[in-house]
């Protein structure tokens, strides 16, 4: 069998294209949901941490450290196969969304926080001395600077975590990897896996290029 027949079999491609396109859409919206929720939650947590109250800081830091330490696959399996034992039954995409969104939130919180702590004290003083409230100083002065500093790391982290939607294949989410690998076993051809790789490139390559442009601009 030739290289082309193995990886680019036209008949197999045509047959599985609709399934793979549907899977691409699933991966796409799951990724979008994870990025939006993860970054938003991370931002909120970092802002709450600036209030400097131990009863906020302690659980935030605990959440961030634990979420960053655990392998996401372990948490996904626990949520999907363990929680039903407690009567909590979540769909595969929901588990993927909650776990990966949570992990991204944990990393994003740390990145935003690092940005916030590197904003010089004088910036806060200038804001407060001109009559701005704590919140106004946070939102108009400190956060924009913190976000700018964090953008490269945020983009990289968001990329790394959205690629983990492939872990959905172990809990039956019909995303790109699971659909293509089942197509591969049905057809006996490696072509669906080629299609999977192309689908991932179609989603993530533009993001990577965008990240590079951003990095150039902000560093």
């Amino acid at each position: 069998m030739s290289f082309l027949d193995t990886f680019f079999d036209g008949a197999v491609m045509a047959k599985y294209l609709p399934d793979l396109l549907a899977a691409l859409v699933t991966t796409l919206w799951l990724s979008a949901a994870i990025v939006i929720a993860g970054l938003a939650l991370g931002l909120v947590l970092a802002c709450l941490r600036t209030l400097g109250r131990w009863y906020l800081t302690l659980p935030i830091v605990a959440f961030a450290d634990i979420s960053r330490a655990l392998p996401p696959l372990v948490v996904i399996l626990v949520f999907y196969f363990g929680l039903p034992g407690l009567g909590i039954r979540l769909s595969g995409p929901m588990v993927l969304f909650i776990v990966l969104g949570g992990v991204l939130a944990a990393f994003a919180e740390e990145i935003f926080w690092a940005g916030l702590t590197s904003v010089p004290k004088g910036q806060w003083e200038a804001g407060r001395a001109t009559g701005l409230s704590f919140m106004q100083t946070l939102f108009d002065i400190a956060l924009p600077q913190a976000i700018r500093l964090g953008i490269p790391s945020l983009v990289n982290r968001a990329l790394a975590i959205t690629k983990m939607t492939a872990l959905g294949s172990v809990i039956g989410v019909k995303e790109i990897l699971s659909v293509s690998s089942s197509a591969q076993s049905f057809s006996g051809s490696a072509t669906p896996l080629t299609m999977a790789a192309l689908a991932y490139l179609a989603i993530f390559l533009p993001v990577v290029i965008f990240a590079r442009l951003l990095e150039k601009r902000y560093t």
Binding site: G122, Q123, E125, A126, A129, L132, S133, D140, I141, R148
Partner: protein
């Protein structure tokens, strides 16, 4: 106008200010000198509560600055302009946006109104042509003048200056002092911490000498520089040779 009564400030167990009494009358420029660590910055920062006084009171136009909290304190701070040694312009905002921000957010001016006022103030410090520049594109002297415009745009009743020229290259000091002199002529009430003794002689109504957290001596510049009474002031002045000779 601005009255500081029995102001004390401790950092932990070290007392940095020991019962400071000082008042600045309307339109007066009071100039504060003293060795490093004598508490000048701390006193100034207590006036707008960037530093919380341990005891004592600060009054602005007979209103208690020291009894304000939350929103009331933010409102009070609008009446007290402050200029820092390090400028502290917002690096992510243009010069114009720097001068507009607090006008819009804290003073609740409309954007066109804030912009007009900002341009007027930038004109005043000679930087209207830099309105669209970013702070990083300006020299230190220009940045400091923008910082002055940012404070002035809020129509403060008193301006506090903490070593406004100490971070500047010598050739840029003059442009900032010129703006300050102009302000004084327009009748702004000013409390200035600085080492520019030349400026003090020319522009100050009163000079206050602080050392070790107390006001050691205060009086018109002629007396302070020409006829110092306390030993500590004489020692301090003799360490700054060139200006004391005159």
């Amino acid at each position: 106008m601005l009255e500081i009564n029995q102001l004390e400030k401790c950092f932990g167990t070290t007392q940095v200010l020991k019962s400071i009494d000082l008042s600045v009358k309307p339109g007066e420029l009071v100039f504060v000198i003293g060795p490093s660590g004598s508490g000048k910055s701390t006193m100034l920062r207590c006036c707008n509560r960037l530093e919380e006084p341990t005891s004592g009171s600060i009054l602005l136009d007979s209103e208690h600055v020291t009894e304000c909290h939350g929103r009331a304190l933010d409102k009070m701070r609008l009446k007290i302009g402050m200029v820092f040694q390090g400028f502290h312009l917002y690096p992510h905002k243009s010069v114009l946006a720097n001068v507009m921000l607090a006008q819009v957010k804290a003073l609740k001016r409309s954007k066109p109104e804030a912009k007009a006022r900002a341009m007027e103030m930038l004109e005043h410090v000679g930087l209207a042509h830099k309105a669209d520049a970013m702070p990083s594109e300006l020299s230190g002297g220009q940045q400091q003048r923008v910082a002055i415009a940012r404070a002035l745009a809020l129509d403060p009743k008193v301006m506090l200056f903490d070593e406004p020229t100490s971070a500047l290259d010598p050739e840029l000091v003059g442009s900032v002092l010129k703006v300050m002199k102009q302000l004084r002529q327009e009748g702004m009430t000013m409390l200035v911490v600085s080492h520019e003794m030349e400026f003090a002689r020319e522009a100050a109504d009163r000079v206050v000498f602080m050392d070790g957290g107390v006001v050691v001596e205060a009086g018109p510049p002629e007396d302070i520089f020409g006829n110092p009474k306390s030993e500590r002031l004489r020692a301090f002045l003799s360490r700054l040779q060139p200006t004391t000779a005159a």
